[in-house]
Symmetry: C2
Subunit: 336 residues, 2 copies
């Protein structure tokens, strides 16, 4: 059994070796997700795009990779008492599913304002839902109470070496599926996904460009990169409910060193990208999942110095857990 923060040669919380071990560990459980392409979107963007569709991952999002790696990294004594987390949704469902597969309890603290479909996923996978107020303080307080009551292990949604390693398996798959990729665009929130993806991708191809896609209303990573330190925001406001978290002390060093730039897009650009995912790619994508496409189509990307270096762009479609109502909002913004 490895500690959750396994040591690495770079002093990061994960490395290519821990990511390769994660791949072996989760392989019996996780889907190898398909890569979709579209001549229409290539034509719109002026680039060749490869969509790594984690909306087809178990639980409907990439989060299952990290959660599965974390749960199956626990030794039997730890595992018996179960796992606990507080999450806005996809990590919660993923952890419930992974715990279910191992046959251990999952205690999931969920803020009352979480999207209904995400809460239903947690219940469907056998997780025990414990409600909190929306604030991070309330979520942490309730999670700590559960920890004390049960002796379960806290599995943080992103600030955790096993989680980062699990998410990094995306790069191992994607760069095998489309080795011509020279750029990856990855949603950024707490940084677990992009940290794993960047560590693995740069180990395989040191010249690969890693771009983060971040909503304007929660652009803490953009600010952090400018300021050279973790910068939290006093409030966040974006439709992308999966991208409201801030960088952690384990993800920040990786984001600082390995993420080449952050592309910031607004909610309208995200909604337009959701529509294109639906109408052109034929996939159900949550707002957070569509942000990579929003970024590649944005004016700010076209003005970015890296724009001319990108030819074959891998875009991580991070998840597809979306209430139908969000699509109605899309429709309401367009008279057709």
């Amino acid at each position: 059994m490895e500690p959750n923060h396994e040591p690495s040669s770079d002093s990061y919380a994960a490395d290519i070796a821990s990511i390769r071990r994660a791949q072996v560990r989760i392989e019996p459980f996780a889907h190898k997700t398909p890569v979709l392409t579209s001549k229409t979107l290539d034509s719109i963007s002026g680039r060749k795009l490869y969509f790594k569709c984690e909306c087809f991952q178990k639980g409907g999002a990439f989060k299952f990779r990290g959660a599965c790696n974390a749960v199956f990294s626990l030794d039997d004594d730890q595992a018996t008492k179960g796992v606990v987390t507080h999450s806005s949704g996809n990590h919660a469902a993923a952890l419930a599913l992974a715990a279910n597969l191992r046959g251990i309890p999952a205690y999931i603290v969920i803020p009352k304002n979480a999207p209904k479909c995400k809460v239903e996923n947690v219940k469907r996978y056998g997780g025990q839902v414990i409600w909190s107020e929306p604030s991070m303080e309330s979520r942490e307080e309730i999670a700590n109470k559960v920890l004390n009551d049960t002796g379960a292990v806290l599995i943080h949604p992103y600030n955790d070496g096993c989680i980062i390693s699990g998410q990094g398996t995306i790069s191992l798959e994607l760069l095998e599926q489309a080795s011509e990729i020279d750029t990856l665009i990855v949603p950024i929130s707490g940084g677990g996904l992009i940290s794993g993806v960047a560590l693995a991708a740069k180990a395989i191809n040191p010249g690969i460009l890693i771009l983060a896609a971040e909503p304007l209303g929660a652009d803490d990573a953009f600010q952090s990169k400018i300021n050279g330190r973790i910068t939290k925001l006093s409030e966040v406001n974006t439709i992308a409910d999966g991208l409201r978290a801030f960088l952690g002390d384990l993800t920040w060093p990786i984001v600082r060193d390995l993420v080449d730039d952050v592309i910031v897009v607004d909610d309208d650009e995200i909604l337009q990208a959701m529509r294109l995912c639906y109408e052109i790619l034929k996939i159900a994508v949550e707002p957070s999942g569509a942000i990579g496409l929003a970024a590649v189509l944005s004016d700010s990307f076209k003005k970015n110095p890296s724009y001319c270096e990108c030819n074959n762009i891998g875009i991580v479609i991070s998840g597809g857990n979306v209430d139908l109502g969000v699509l109605w909002n899309l429709r309401g913004r367009d008279p057709r």
Copy 2:
């Protein structure tokens, strides 16, 4: 160059040999579409389900397979004058795209009530749209006028050996992707899709069960099988805009002989299946495309004599060209 109605050993309009030739012909152009599975839907249906996702085919529907085979079967002299068809949508877009790939004109007669997204697909692929009234008489009259004016070749949406052969390539792929499949559920309208799928599947595995899925408001295949002859309806009424055509003289003998049964479902069952495709499978599916899932979940299937013989069911998700408004209808039928 083969004639469009190539002779076959069975005196059907196509056979396994013509389908294998079609596979070679379209391979440089068509996507090999992924097969999705879902433990949740397996659990709801009580069967192991394999979804062959033709919504990810070029043009957003299986129709590209047949259209591509037909267009690339033309000799150069024929091809130069272009192709013409009248279609409610997906065949039209597919033919426009295939013609575009060969660099020849495509004249597309479209009824004025066709879904907007399907018309846009035709235009996007460079097809020349010619409007008709919704009636079949008007569509045929206008198509004949175009034929006379241009000398183009009429490519019928389904009553055509090359079209049937192209659609049959789905079985070649699917039974390689999931050889354990013992049953196929396939949407039926004019019968081009299910004819090709049945011919190829029964050639590979004579014991495989072929079930058609048909909307209650356009159940001409169900009636035809009962009556032992092509039975047209005086009117059709279903949300599944791709399933309103009647069997043709080339598809009927194949449907009569090789389709084991027809499962009839109503529009509410189709809408519910669309919702499940969206929320569980994370794919955008048009009503016609969701009917296979509707069938496998229907009470009439559970009462069907073949129900107990089915364990591993391949479901052809025929297309994903859907206006967002249809999803709003879904939402309107459920208060959540």
